[in-house]
Amino acid sequence: MNANLLSAGCAVAALILLSGCDEKKAADPSTQYGTDPVLPAPEQYILPPMRIALAKGWGTEQTPTVTGGLAIKAFATGFMHPRQVYALPNGDVLVVETNGPKAPIYRPKDFIEGKVKGLSGSAAPAGNRIILLRDSTGSGVADQRSIFIDHLNSPFGVALVGNDLYVAATDALLKFPYVPGQTHIDAPGEKVTDLPAGQINHHWTKSLVASPDGTKLYVGVGSNSNITENGMAAEEGRAAIWEIDRATGLKRIYASGLRNAAGLAFEPTTGKLWAVVNERDEIGPDLVPDYLTSVREGAFYGWPYSYFGQHIDIRVEPRRPDLVAKAIMPDYALSSHVAPLGMVFTQSSTLPLKYRSGVFISEHGSWDRSPLNGYKVVYVPFEDGLPSGPPQDVVTDFLTSDGKAKGRPVGVTLDHTGAMLIADDVGNKVWRVSAAKHTSDVAAAVLSNR
């Protein structure tokens, strides 16, 4: 009884302090990088550990910190929850201002979580529209701005194929006619196909990428829960990557068991589809590592029944040993609760040479781990189409020294000059990371291009 009293008292105190009771220390994230992450035994909490990075925003002259050889500048500011950036071939940049639909309250926890997430800036009002930015002088700062497409339903992914601009809204894939140079699209979007949304719509973002030949579109559809707590019926068509035929609009599940593939991209040297995936919460600060993986056609990656192969999640009943047996290991762990939401391969970048054969991954960071993990943009080097080393910090200092969030990185892309653009949904800015001028790398690049 004393133990119970103590636990209960601790739970109450913890709820007030928003800090976990569990004294067990989180591991060094570097033990969870790469092909063979250390996976501790899962835990079941009275109150899961959490730590909120309160949304603070950037000071006037403040920027994130970049590593040597790079320079960073705000490309544009004053957005309403920008989450994606997409560079059009003519140099114009699209910024998707978006946030999820209001989440229903099915349990007291939903109410409390909503309040907690609100503190971290996740519930900020969004434009639910796409803004077009133009840097007409090539200064690295946008000087023209217009509302490109308005009144969208929680849009996320954008992909241009020829003159068709595809936008993945939370409930449908839409197609808009696009003419280069256009600053506004009035034409209504034509629905290519419905996407899973519904009343719960837990992971609402729909990531989008077109195949290199432009015949197929791939959509990342997140799970409808953390770990099936909304019932298996709600997971129909979810936790999967969909393949949609551009010509016919026909769709099929390309790969499944991926809890939330929030970023998709094709590796340019092999032409293979890769994804960054957000794994499950509330079984420990070091479970389950989020990952980067090539996406194999028809493969099952475990969610919800297991993770990283055959590690069974005891929270899912009835169990499916048949599916667990089929579950494959993702290629590369990024460590736990970093929340990778964006990725871009760097072969066409003009950043220093050391950043030109891998992938940039934006780690939004989450609140269900203490200490915090993520809140930065990392670079994972590739060799022969596969990751070849640990992630390297590239853009950091999104957090203050006392753990508040100045910003949080979401979408990343390369602009037409080969610089990196980062959408920051707490700082409400788009950052541009370019090669620092007069570095030997740039000189070498210029020479090598001759």
Binding site: M1, A8, Q44, R107, P108, K109, T228, G231, I314, E317
Partner: protein
């Protein structure tokens, strides 16, 4: 000098304790159905029963305090007080367990806590929901709040 308690003034805490207890006991049923059907809505029922039961339990606690302050309850039965408090704390712990995601929100810890609280409440409830000390064959342990107040025989 001795201020007599007026039997015509009813205690306000017993019905509230009863309402809270019924909701908390009901959690066993919804937990059982969840464990049999694996339909998660039954766990949702459980957590709402726990939440509402705990809110009522908190109100019942305030009512008890009010009964004491207003001198309607000079002595309370210590064993019953400890029993009801234990059931409430177990249920509070259980609300956290029930807020886990998935099967382990209920099986086994949540179900066990619901059952433990229910056993305590059903046992205590056989003598109603009042914390008034009642005479028994042996000496009753009580907690006195107002010295010299004669115990009222109910």
């Amino acid at each position: 000098m001795t201020k007599k308690e007026t039997p015509s003034l009813p205690l306000i805490h017993p019905p509230l304790v009863g309402f809270a207890a019924v909701l908390l006991i009901g959690t066993v049923a919804t937990d059982f159905i969840y464990s049999e059907t694996l339909l998660f809505q039954w766990n949702n029922f459980s957590i709402w029963l726990l939440t509402a039961g705990l809110i009522l339990a908190a109100i019942a606690g305030l009512a008890l305090l009010l009964d004491i302050v207003r001198r309607r309850l000079p002595v309370i039965a210590r064993g019953r007080f400890i029993g009801f408090t234990a059931a409430a704390l177990l249920s509070l712990l259980n609300a956290f367990v029930h807020s886990r995601d998935g099967y382990t929100a209920v099986v086994p810890d949540g179900f066990a806590l619901s059952a433990a609280a229910a056993v305590i409440l059903i046992f205590l409830g056989q003598r109603g929901w009042s914390l008034r000390a009642v005479p028994s064959s042996g000496p009753t342990r009580t907690m006195e709040f107002h010295s010299r107040s004669p115990e009222i025989q109910s």
